[in-house]
Each structure stands twice: as structure tokens, then as C-alpha cells.
Symmetry: C2
Amino acid sequence: MKIKISDLLFGKPLASSDERAEHIGALAGIPIFGLDALSSAAYGPEAALTLLIPLGLMGVHYIVPVIAAIILLLTIVFFSYRQTIDSYPHGGGSYTVASENLGEGAGLLAAAALMIDYVLTAAVGISAGVGALISGVPSLQPHTLGLCLGILAILVLVNLRGVRDTGVAFMVPTYLFIVAMLAVIAIGVGKVLISHGHPVPVIAPPSLPAMSAAVSIWLILKVFASGCTAMTGVEAVSNGVMAFRPPTNGNAKKCLTVIIALLIAMLGGIAYLCKAYNIGATNPNGAGYQSVLSELFSAVTGRGWFYYGSIASIVLVLALSANTAFADFPRLTRAIAENDFLPHVFRVRGRRLLYSHGVWALTALTAILLIAFGGVTDRLIPLYAIGAFMAFTLSQAGMVMHWKKQQHAGSGWHMFVNGTGAVATGITTLVVLVAKFVDGAWVTVLLVVSMIALMIMVKRHYKRIAQEMEYNSPLHLGHLQQPMVVIPMAKWSRLTEKALRFALVISKDIQVAHVACEQQPEGLAHLWEEMVLGPARKAGLPLPELVTLESPYRLVVMPLIAHVLELSKKHPGRKIVVIVPELVVKHWWENALHNQRSQLLKVLLELKGNQRIVVVNMPWYL
Amino acid sequence: MKIKISDLLFGKPLASSDERAEHIGALAGIPIFGLDALSSAAYGPEAALTLLIPLGLMGVHYIVPVIAAIILLLTIVFFSYRQTIDSYPHGGGSYTVASENLGEGAGLLAAAALMIDYVLTAAVGISAGVGALISGVPSLQPHTLGLCLGILAILVLVNLRGVRDTGVAFMVPTYLFIVAMLAVIAIGVGKVLISHGHPVPVIAPPSLPAMSAAVSIWLILKVFASGCTAMTGVEAVSNGVMAFRPPTNGNAKKCLTVIIALLIAMLGGIAYLCKAYNIGATNPNGAGYQSVLSELFSAVTGRGWFYYGSIASIVLVLALSANTAFADFPRLTRAIAENDFLPHVFRVRGRRLLYSHGVWALTALTAILLIAFGGVTDRLIPLYAIGAFMAFTLSQAGMVMHWKKQQHAGSGWHMFVNGTGAVATGITTLVVLVAKFVDGAWVTVLLVVSMIALMIMVKRHYKRIAQEMEYNSPLHLGHLQQPMVVIPMAKWSRLTEKALRFALVISKDIQVAHVACEQQPEGLAHLWEEMVLGPARKAGLPLPELVTLESPYRLVVMPLIAHVLELSKKHPGRKIVVIVPELVVKHWWENALHNQRSQLLKVLLELKGNQRIVVVNMPWYL
């Protein structure tokens, strides 16, 4: 049995009828669709606390209301998306919902925002994971970009194997991360309760200075905007409903519920314990930096095997959170391509039932981002989250319109739920945009606008072609006329003889075009009678005509093309068939050994030709 | 009038009849064919003196006999090559001479040695020039590689414009260099004579320590081997005889005489003055390094405008010496390709009558070498000069055989001249090979062997194909049978209608192959009668058959190919014509918008097909 490398790497090809078996249950969906959302807990609160550093000890007190606001927002979004899953069992991403209910413009806005956000999710997830790893093993620092691209390569391989295998690969680290987080929060909360609110840290976090700056509304808004990065990724489930095993909706909703509940528990627990243990962020650019979660784990459990195991799982989960983008981006681009706004290749499913061109596109874009920013997370963060919140808003607003159209009992309540979501996320989008605009959000805005322009151009192109190609009449059989055949011939050989025989079968008008050259000054004329005319006359066939073309510039291809174009001008209405004899080599490198004139001839005939010029490849297998 | 960018960059295309005008005189030949040889004076003596550093003050005394030996060798080679020019007025490179007189094996050895040496000439010339520039302007150090590649780009542009323009571009710096060198030598020798052998240096060179190591035959041999780099490039004239204006031989010999005389004057002058002024080399890797020529110019004339002007001309000439390789490498590869040992593209002359593929190949190889070695000369030098001396030896030995065959009066004397050359350069080759083997000459040996193997493979391939394609019989007209036509059709459109009309003209057996897919479950069957069969029946034409292919793996191309192959197996002896409808887009980027199935179909049909499967491109211009 021959084992193919492609099978080992990507798995065996799957038939369309194998499809059902690739569907997943609610629990298996958590690592696939929840990794991004859950791993946000590792950087969301820290991003908020970092902006609170100037407030010193007092700043820690503000984290609780900020996180509370985010949890409230998360709850609103949760109920909103539950309704979306029910209404769109075949996948209700923001793009689908917005374009179906709010029109094309809103749909394109959502599409652009989501695509950009997925690429950023992949890039930020990978670079943050590598960043965390490097904080642990500083000697890896010089290999940052290499590590990032290595992880990207692993993600691609795992994803091209298909959905189910992905679930298995990501389940273990995700559950380790969840267990570690919940355990620390439970132990910590227990210790706080036993000590009546004054726990003694096992290892004390760096002490916080007294207040050194005044609090302001603007600062709190910026803190909130940064903390909102904790919410990225929660829309993934509603986008991928169809990946679940039946009952599809039920499993998807269960999965969403578990993910949001876990995220709320983590965010709430972190905020509560930070306040109780007086844990603030340390300066990420200064010496002695330590992540908030590292401080928290040290304070609650000390630095034993549990600490190091938990940190390892955080590193892993951060890096793998990029996988949410891999699960969802190809589905999104497929949906957009179905509406002709992206090239149709995104609709083609690969050997493992995935939309593999989407995987490749995401990989390429992520690699570009990682290389452009050297794999450094800090520079990417300000571009991030705006796309997600734009999409949230459009999705909820779209759902409002969806219910409005339905007008059945209970649609009022549904409208209220989604309306609350739309207003809340809409306000948040504005806050995030304003708070981060100068730091980099403008790049995202620019990209969104360019993407929309690109998609509109693609759609226009497909529309134009569809109109041009449309043909609803029956076969038209008037004016059927034999084509004129032109055969370029450098010398009389087995191959050119074969071409001439073929020409004699399909037409009576045959020209053999010979370009005069230095090496062969006598041309073909001296053997024409013996080799061609004689036998043709004897067989009573039409006589092929020999045309010798002059070439003062030693070019071979250009005179041939000029001759063919001239001929097509002289005979309007007739087809010109150009037979291009071609050697087919066994090994690709042998192509370097034959002058590429036949290739050049074909390309130039296509470029300069017209509707009536048809090229025939006459192969000769060596 | 429309001005083309390509005309501005490369000059207007030249017709074959313009050729004569591109030929050059003896004086104009010096910069073109002599730059490499003459610029060697700038590093040859220094390479020898560097190895004499351990001998201190005493070492300077040994430079005179070593250079004397090199000058003797140069004189022998000069007379040898004069005879070659007379015997080979159409270009008597070592390759031609060795393969004509010593057989194919010797020819291939010469060819490989020369090709490698030309690439090294280009790489060493450029990197040495940049190195000299950087010694002058140390702040350019970080841009070494960029400067190297920049100079390479300029050389390519200048050379693609054609031979004459090159002469003009290189004449000024070459003559400046020659004048500066000769002036310094004349002034220096004058000062030595006036001072009765004890000149007072204007700026004293770094003082040399007393002898610190014992002299040995082995050391002197290594010094000689290093000094021999001064001889590289002298074969260029004999290679390019045909570039001269008539009287071709006379002009070429004049040019060679001037070049060798200048080189001997420079080498002798440098050696004489080094001894008189006690100038030794400084450690090239240590602080306070100064080139020998810089010491010499300072000692004779001080550091005024003359010093800086001369150093600038040395920098320029070193960098441009690479041009000798550009003038000669394309001619060499053309000669090798004429004998089928290299791909035939090397025989094709470009728009400016140059063998432009040779220029591109040299450029690519040089760029690879420069990038691999970071543009650092030191690492390239040990690979250098072996190729040149191998070629010298083979060329002289070939000339000996040439005279032996002729047996006319005077051929005895000719044999003696070339025989002396062969023995002298043969011994030198061995010395250089042994002395430099460990330092890098082994790389050259390895490359020579690989190149020979490659060339033999190329020749074998061309021979096999020529045998297979050879056909001396007249056109065979038995068994002419109409082909079977297969048209892949996804849906009924203007384009597929056009393809069907064409098929009806060339054959009676027509199959339309439709791959069943998810998007179009009803297929084409429902409109077949109305759109195709009806009109065909009415016109009394053969009825095309509709074949629907199943595709469980959602692939479109593979089922089509399997069908075509099946058909060709079922109908042995008949041609299968596959008509591939294709959209021709206006802009290259629009190709991304149409799924590339037709391209894939064509490529796979060629790969998996056979002699009887013919592909027809049916274009539709949008």
C-alpha cells in the first residue's frame, strides 16, 4: 500500500457523504469555539489594570466596577446571541445577520470588521502566547518571530486535518487552563472568606504606591475600553452552529452558555481576588514585569508545581486561542464568497471538508502581520477589538430588524433583548474607537474601508461577467465554417508531422508558418514537395501552404503572432486554429532544457488574440 | 511618439544587420576585456605580501623574485595566447580550444572551470570594490551587501545595453586608473634613481619589524600561489576576438599586447617600489589596516588630491572589473550551448545582440554568491584563480595538439611556445591547488565536478530527444480518423455554446461532460433537448451526447480527467480533443477571481495524458 505524504499530514480525503461524522457535541465545541473567548481572561483584566497603574493602590478598587460593567455587557450579549442561534441554525454570523436584515452595506461593514478581527485574533493569540513563553524562558527571546511562525505552521496543519481532529488536539490544554483558573479562584475566594476579607498572600505581590494621579471619567473609559478585549471571540459559536451534532441549536446554545459562564466566573474571580489581595499590574515595559495572573497564582498558592503547570497552560491556551480564527475565518469567507463579494475559490471545500482556501488566506495574512510587527503583541493590541464590537453591534441591530419583520407573539420581547444588546455594544464600539483611535484604531478603520471597497469591486466584476456569459437561447448553427489552421514549424520532425496530420483531419485550409533564421538558411522549402505536397496530392487531400516569415530581429514568436493576427484580420468571421506542438517532459526540471517558445507563443496569442483565435496543444510525450 | 521603459533601460532593439556597427577597436577593447586583468594589480601583489608579513623587513626582499616569476609566467602566457588569437579568429576561448583539440572531456573541464571562475570574478570584483570603498567611508559598513547588489544591478543594466555602450561607460575610470598607476610608478622610480636607491618617503609607511619567522620553500610557494591572482582575466581577449572591428585578429592582438604590457609594468613597478620604500602588507584583519597601494601612493606623492583621486579610481576599477565576466560569460555559455551541453536558451540573442540569458544567469549566480558570503571578499579569494589556471593549462595544451595536427613549416616553433605555456601554467595550477586546497580550493574542485556532471546530463537529454524527434519520411496519411471531442460544461452559457459550435465543425463524435455538484443538483439534462438536441436535429447535424459524472469528493477536475483517460482507453487509435473554455481577463489580477479549474484541467491533462489527447483552448475575451 502506498502511503501519501499528504495523507499523513492532512488526513485522508473525505467524501461529502462522510460529512455527518465530522460534527461535534457541545463539550467538544468548547475548545474549538471558546478558546479565544476564554483566553481573553488572561489579558483583558491585565490590560485594564495596566491603565490603572498611575492610580496606585487606589486603582485596584476601580477594577471591580469596570469588570462588573464588562460582565453586564457580556450577559446582554449572551442573551442576544442565544436568540441568534435559534433564528440562524445554519450559522448566524454577524455577516449573515447584518446583510440579511440591514442590507448589503451593513453586511459588508460586518464582513470587513470580522475578517480583520479574525486575522488580528490569530496574530495576537500567537504572539501573546510566544510572549508569555519568552517571559518564562528569556533565552528564547531572539527567536520570537521564528516561534510565532512555527506555531502558525502547526495550527495550519492541525486545521487542515478537519474539525474533529482539531477538537481533540485542543481539548487537553483548554480543560487544564479552565481547571487551573477555577481552582485558584475557588481556593482564593475560600481564603478570603475564612480570613474575613484579609487573606495573607503566600507570596506577596509587589506593593502598590499611594495614589499619584487623580481619577477621571476619561481614564475610566480608557480602562473599560482596554478591558473589553476580554470579550473578543464570544461570537464564534453563533457563526459555527452547523458544526454541531443534532440537536444542532441545542448543542450550540449549551456550548455558548458554558463558555460565557466560565468567562464570567474567571473575570469576576480575578477582579475580586485582585482587590482582596491588592494585586495591581506592573509596568509591561519596565524591569521586574510580572503578569497579573502570575502575581495572583503566587499569592494564592505559592510557586510550586501547580504554579508552573498553570502558567504553562496559560501559555499554551494563549497561543492556541488563535485557533478560533482558524475555525471561523474560512466559514466567514465562504459565506461572503457565496454572495460574490470574494473570489469563488473560498467556496470550494478541500479534501477534509474544510474551506481550505480560507485557511490558506488566513495563514498568509497572519504571517504577514506577524512578520510586519516582528511578533510583538504590544503593537497589535490597539488595532484589536474594534472589529469585534462593530460586528457585535451590527449583529444585534440586524436581529432587531429580524424580529420586527416577523411580528409574531413574543417578538417584542426578542426585539427588546437584541435591542439592548445593540445599544450596549454600539456605545462600547464608540468608546473603544475614541479611546484607542490615536493609538492604532485608525489603522483598523482604514483597513475596514479598503476591504469594503475591494469586496464591492469583486462583486461588480462577477456581476458583469455573469451578464456577459448569460445565454438562454438554443445552440445557434448558422455560418458553421471550417477553421483556418496555422502550424508553426521550425523543422520537419515526428512532432510536426503529427500536427500536420491532425490539421488535415479538421480543416481544408492549412498554413505551415516557418520563421527564417540564421541556423537554417535553407528553410523548409527544399523538402516541402517530397515530404508534404507529394503525399497529400496522392491521397487527394487539400495541399497545405508553406509560408516563410522574415525576422530581422532574430525573434521567432513575434513574427508568428503578427502573421496569425494578420490572417484573422484578412478573414473576418473565420476561426484561426493555431496548433502549437509541445514536448512533454518527464521531470519538471527538463522544462529548462527546451526553449520556452511554445509557452511564450501560447501566452502571447491569448494576450493579443481575439475571440476567433483558438490554440491547440499538440503534445509529444518523451 | 511612445517611449518604452524597456528602450530607456536597455536601449532600442537592434536588427541582425546592425551587427557590424557594434564592433570595437583595439583601444576601446582595453576597458572591456582588460579591466579584470589590470585591476588584479590592485590585489595580486598585496595577496603575496600579506603572506610575507611573518618574515618582517626581510619579507619585502622576497616580493621581487616572486613577482618576477609571475611576470615571466605572464610573458609565456602572452605569446601563447597571441598564437591562439591567430588560429581562432572567431573566438578561441579555452573551452573551444580544449574541446576541439583535446576532446570532449578536456573541453568540459575547461568549460566548468571557466564558468566558475567568471562567477567568482564578478563576485570578487564587486565585493573587493565595495570593500575598498568601505575602507574609505567606514560608515557604509552596515550596507555592504546592499552596495554589492546595487553595483551588480548597475552592471546588468549597462551590459544589457550592448557591447559598445559598455566600452564608453568603462573607458574613463579604466584610463584614470592606468594613468594614476603609471604616474606613481614613474615618479617613484625617478625618485629612487635620483636618491641612488634610498628615497625619502613623503609619508613613511608603517615600519616593518625584524624577521620573526624562518623562510621556507613551502611559504614561498604559497606566496607565489596567492600572487597568481594577479593573472586572472588575461584570457578574456582571446575569448572575444569576434567583438573587434576588422582587421579582427590584428586589433585583438594589439589589445592583448597593451593589456599585458600595462599589467607587467604595474606589477614590476609595484614590486620594485615596495622593495625600495620598504613597504610591506599590514594585517588585513587587524586595526590600522592600510592597503599596499595606499601605502605606496602615500610614500611617493603624499596625501593630496592625487592620492584621493587615485584611490577613488582603484575603488571604481575593482568594482567594474566584474564587467569582464559580463562580457565573456554569455559568450562562453553560448559556445557550450551550441554543443548541447547547456540549455539552448543560452544561444538566443536578445534585443541588443547580446546573449542575454547568459547575462541573467551570471547575475543570478553572482547574487547568490554575494548573498551567501555577505559580500565579504576574504572568504571568496581561496576559491579563486584555480579555475583560471586550469583553463590556461587546457588551452595551451590544446594549442599544442592543434599545431601537431597541422604539421606545416613553423608549427614546431608554435608547438614549443604553447608547450612552454602549458607546462608552466600546469605546474602553477598544481601549486595553487595544493597551496590553497584546505582554505577553500576544495569547494572549487567540487563545483567543477558537479558542473561537468550537469553538462553531461544536459547533452544526453538533447541527444535522446533529437533521436526521438528525427523523422525523415514523408507525411503519413493512412488511418486519418476524426477525433472524439469532449467539452467540460458546468452550465449553458455563451462560452460553452461557442465551444459546442466549434466541436460540431471539427468532428461528428461529441460528448459534453457535466460534473454533478451540490449547487446545481438538476444538472444540464433538463435543458439539453431544447438547447442542443433540437437545433442539431433540425440542422441535420450529429447529436452531441450529454454525460453526467458523479463526484463524491466534490472535485470537479479529477472526474473529468478520469473520464477522458477512460475514453482514450476505450478507443485506442483515436484522438481525444478536449475543448477547455476559458475566460480571458483584461487585468492579471482578475485571474484571482475565476476559479482556476480550467488551468488545473489543462496542466493535469498534460501530466496524465498521452499522445492522443489534444487540448484546445477556447478563449472568451471579456
